[in-house]
Symmetry: C2
Subunit: 346 residues, 2 copies
């Protein structure tokens, strides 16, 4: 329930002054475009009633709540167990705090939740949304766009940039370039039978990393690529399948550190030495994973916290541009660089 | 920005019909208490303008957003690393989803964040709040109460139940009774020099567990009680201090599993066998901790997820009662039972 129930409202001031709410708003916020006598009448009403513009009134004028939604369209268990989200949220939170914006975290589970999240997003409680939806489902971004809620997506969306109707701001790392660096590093070590454990191929990051792998090794037989699911178990299963199909493979590029950790476990169980027999390289440089594996993991680093910060920055910039005189100016997606971090596994 | 900007508003209908917004609301939602001719005029205006009550209008009428804030007034790093929060949020989410309410998670860091969270809480975006503020600071609950935002606190608040001005709904487990069970279990094993690693004593749960310990062992010398901070490191430091002061202690009751895990590490390093030399019992039955320690931890179980569910239920019930004919009916705090879970450490 609104806190101002017992305080004089904007409506009360408007009624007392015999003007519209919009006029009261304009006067209270500087009086631009309101004739002198009218403005004086409004000021008198404000004084008489002891009206104090509250947050809701400020919102009416600035059309800003000072609140940004972060939507995680993934199961909650994943949100709490995958350090990726904690790092992104930390970066987002840092940037939003610096600009006195409240981070409003909306967790979703099933499709029913998603509908409810859509309702909240489009009901004027937040000024914009940062959406993480790793799979091919774009229902929330579409909903937000239709409702005019500015949105930035975490990671390249599944639809092509060239589709203007669905043009979307996003922040992603250079997945394809990073994957190329990983494979080149393995080639540089003299490896010649290099396998790839891909992420789920309904996620753009997985596709981009596979594309980067193929950029460098276009003639790789299908037997050397196995699809995982970004979990340690998925990485382990993929590693087992690869060893079954190509017993003499000498290197593996896993599309995530978490999958690489599962692969390392399988290699240890099978008595394959890393990196002597098989070199292993991951992707992400997830601190709590890459540094703790045995041996510590060589990987491709993406700055996850910084990407969160950039998402927030891009959204706030978009809100500014929309509020500015040239309301049609548009910001652009951001691709952050990756870099090779050499530890012991490759 | 509100999605309905281009759709006819409640205000437009009110203006067209020449009545107040409140009257339009009442007619649109059943017409109770509106005279026939007036109601007819409003219905005509609704038809003419093609007005469809939207979420915001529904909110005005029912005074419900269908959204509940969960506020965690702890550093974000703690929120993501302490499984306690994940379990509580899971329980809360389950209950809110079942009643089609959106969980709106507000993370706070420093005092500046807290002010901003207060602003969001009291600006009419949510119908109520579930607040976790483990320390003696009650600024957010007080703010929420003043703004008329129904609130349920996670854990007994620091102020006494008897302070009617600050009467607060909360859900907590029977910390004191659980602590008594822990100490009695150690006594039953024949232990006679039983130490206690307390939590930070600015938190009611810590105080209650210490009180339960003293209920059973009122003559315990101060040397057998050390204060920790609910971290493994704090538990380790407290264990070292206790061994220093009372080298022949034969049992430890730690006020949390996490602190017990730190204590176990110290005992192992010092060559003290658990439970042979020193029996150890924890509190919480935090699945990811108690089952993984070496040896597995005997502990006092509290059903953390269920407590989250009950918090949500209590808040929704409170909202119902307030909306009902007897708006003054009040719900009561809930204390959930604990139980001893015997594993290997005591």
């Amino acid at each position: 329930m609104p806190p101002a129930a017992s305080r004089p409202t904007l409506e009360a001031v408007a009624a007392r002054a015999g003007v519209s709410r919009a006029t009261v708003s304009r006067v209270v916020n500087g009086g631009a475009g309101v004739r002198g006598p009218l403005a004086a009448r409004v000021r008198a009403a404000v004084e008489e009633l002891g009206y104090v513009p509250n947050q809701a009134a400020r919102t009416l004028v600035t059309r800003r709540n000072g609140a940004i939604a972060v939507v995680v369209a993934e199961p909650q268990s994943r949100f709490f167990s995958d350090p990726f989200f904690a790092q992104q949220v930390r970066g987002i939170s840092r940037e939003l705090s610096a600009h006195d914006n409240q981070l409003v975290l909306l967790l979703t589970g099933g499709p029913a939740d998603r509908e409810r999240v859509g309702r909240f997003l489009t009901s004027g409680h937040v000024d914009g949304a940062l959406i993480f939806s790793l799979h091919a489902d774009d229902s929330l971004p579409v909903l937000a766009r239709k409702a005019g809620v500015p949105t930035v997506i975490g990671g390249r969306p599944t639809w092509p940039d060239t589709d203007a109707r669905r043009r979307t701001l996003y922040v992603d790392c250079d997945n394809r370039g990073g994957a190329r660096d990983a494979v080149r590093h393995l080639l540089g070590l003299g490896r010649r039978r290099i396998a790839h454990i891909a992420g789920p191929l309904d996620q753009p990051a997985s596709v981009d990393r596979l594309d980067g792998f193929r950029d460098v090794l276009p003639d790789t037989p299908a037997a050397l690529v196995a699809e995982g699911d970004f979990t340690p178990e998925g990485g382990a299963r993929a590693m087992e399948a690869l060893l079954e199909r190509v017993p003499d493979l000498d290197a593996v590029f896993a599309a995530s550190d978490v999958m690489a950790s599962g692969a390392l476990r399988v290699l240890r169980t099978r008595g394959r030495r890393v990196p002597d027999d098989i070199a292993v390289i991951g992707f992400d440089d997830m601190v709590s994973v890459a540094e703790w594996t045995d041996p510590p993991l060589t990987t491709i680093r993406q700055d996850i916290e910084e990407m969160g910060r950039l998402m927030a920055q891009l959204l706030l910039r978009t809100l500014e541009l929309q509020a500015g005189p040239d309301g049609t100016a548009a910001a652009s997606p951001i691709i952050t660089p990756t870099r090779l971090v050499v530890r012991a596994s490759a």
